[in-house]
């Protein structure tokens, strides 16, 4: 708001300044969206070119005709398709498992009284201080003892507890009106029925946000699969992409195929984010209706 020397608001000047500001804001915004998208647009264009076109200088910035061949090479010849199935399976099982254990944990913490409750709560919460890199060497030894090296157990089971999830659901459950719990108990609903019939339907925002966050997290895991999986057929997409970008088994880098591979690996988490973005935004506190 513009203010003149007398301290009063000058309406015409204020309006003009605002209109100018608005135009500027949308220009900056448009440029920003272009800059953010540019690398991926470049990758899309390059993924359609032949191995000669992709290396031209000055860079060829129009679509080529090799899209099908490049994507097919990445998916089949370099085995990224198989890696996709592996990662998909792991991300779906892992994120659903995390949500179930977190819902059960939060149910126990919010709707029950039991000895050592606070102690157990901190037991769960303090795992936030122990991310994978801090425990990775002995965790590998645990996997070796369980004979889980090169299995999907190693890529799912250690992830199934979620301190963030327990904490998010606990906070959410505490905001649910007590009268609802009383009414449910009056109707003789047990804790499991209460969780399934009342809490879960009332937690769709948090569950949706958890799906987005955990799916993306598990799909994007890099270091642990790199270490614990050595059989190429069992490997996840992120490591598959690294092998592809290093030239794969053939050792020859075809940048068109590499860009196709990067885009393939990016699609599933992007789709999850786009489809569930409203839940995600609401769950992380970015919704309009606060």
């Amino acid at each position: 708001m513009a203010v003149d020397v007398t301290g009063r608001v000058n309406p015409t000047r204020a309006r003009r300044k605002k209109a100018l500001g608005t135009a500027l804001v949308y220009t900056v915004l448009f440029l920003l969206l272009v800059i953010i998208a540019a690398p991926v647009v470049f990758a899309v264009i390059k993924s359609t070119q032949t191995s000669q076109q992709v290396l031209q200088y000055p860079p060829m910035l129009t679509f080529g005709k090799s899209a099908l061949a490049n994507f097919k090479a990445a998916l089949i010849d370099y085995g990224l398709g198989k890696n996709m199935l592996n990662s998909g399976l792991i991300a779906v099982i892992g994120s659903s498992g995390k949500i179930v254990t977190a819902l059960l944990g939060a149910l126990a913490f919010v709707y029950f009284e039991f000895p050592g409750k606070m102690l157990w709560f901190y037991f769960v919460l303090l795992t936030l201080m122990l991310p994978m890199p801090v425990i990775i060497v002995p965790l590998y030894n645990v996997m070796a003892k369980l004979r889980w090296v090169n299995t999907y157990y190693a890529l799912t089971v250690p992830y199934l507890a979620s301190a963030t999830g327990v904490f998010l659901f606990q906070q959410h459950f505490m905001s649910i009106p007590q009268s609802i719990v009383d009414a449910a108990r009056m109707d003789g609903v047990g804790p499991v029925g209460f969780l399934v019939k009342i809490l879960v339907p009332m937690s769709t925002n948090v569950i949706g946000a958890m799906v987005v966050i955990q799916f993306i997290y598990l799909w994007n895991e890099y270091l642990w699969p790199l270490i614990v999986i050595s059989e190429p057929a069992k490997q996840v997409v992120q490591v598959g992409l690294k092998i592809l970008s290093g030239g794969g088994a053939q050792g020859v880098q075809n940048w068109g195929v590499v860009m196709a591979g990067a885009l393939i690996v990016a699609v599933p988490p992007l789709v999850i984010l786009l489809v569930l973005h409203e839940y995600f935004m609401a769950g992380v506190g970015l919704s309009e209706e606060k």
């Binding site: 708001m1 500001g21 500027l24 804001v25 915004l29 953010i36 690398p39 991926v40 990758a43 992709v54 200088y57 000055p58 860079p59 179930v100 059960l104 126990a108 913490f109 709707y111 029950f112 039991f114 409750k117 037991f123 795992t127 936030l128 201080m129 122990l130 991310p131 890199p133 801090v134 425990i135 990775i136 060497v137 590998y140 030894n141 645990v142 089971v157 250690p158 906070q171 649910i176 108990r185 804790p191 925002n205 994007n220 890099y222 270091l223 270490i227 992409l241 690294k242 940048w255 590499v258 990016a266 988490p269 999850i272 984010l273 935004m281 609401a282 992380v284 506190g285 970015l286 309009e288």
Partner: protein, 294 residues
Amino acid sequence: MQAKFPGKLLPYIFLLPTIIICGLFIYYPAAMTFRTSMYQSLFFGARQRFVGIQNFTRLLTSPNYLRSMGITLWFVFLVVAIGLSLSLLIAVLLNRKLHAAKALRVALVWPYALSPAVAGTIWLFLFNPHSGLVNYLLDLLFSNKPDWFSHPTLALTMLIVTSIWNNFGYNLVFFLAGLQNISDSFMEAAEVDGASFWRQLFHVTIPLLSPTIFFLLVININYAFFDTVGMVDVMTKGGPANATNMLIYQLYKDGFQNFNSGLAAAQSLILFVFVVGLTLLQFRTTGRMVHYGS
């Protein structure tokens, strides 16, 4: 306070999966990290010898390790400082009722879904000295085509640019949301007082945004410290001449390429010290942040 269900055993049954997994796959390995850090691996891990704190003294007196720590801290600092101040500045410029706010948030936030390895792969080609877009633009503007991969500072710059790009939209969306929560009357009062843009930024906006800033600090530090391992592995492999050899990448190499688990475990504990600091910062803020989402 919520009404309770009766039952002594039931809550433990509900908690059992979480407790078993935390115990077996987090706390037990964490305890073993302490133990392992005091042993030296011989013959590629075939034999272990107790060495006390020698692994730590070896690391903390090793020029290579200290250099790696310096590079990591410098990298984290630059990614966080540049990334956050740039997104905050742009958020302040953009702060008003925008049309299609929901679609706009999605159009900004989506690179968050791309892993550091995917971002790294795409930027690996963008920075390609011969046919990448970056050198094409630099050639047009300055007639200069640097070799990003053979120069230490340039290689680190490449990782910094890629990391900032990966998180930029996410940071911006959180800053915009935080700004929308600040009552207009604060800003107007500052304007009526004749405060300059920078004065207003440092004395009004930043203090009022501190919950969002803390939250993003934790997320971004964590990203730069740990998540970038995939990006480093894809883009530079720690090179040239160890110029982008981050602590986490060194840990991976010592633990799983040189099979020196004792030395790697000691590095894990050094990282743990950083994580503890970060978590304390997080506990200060998550309560607030989660409150937003409830």
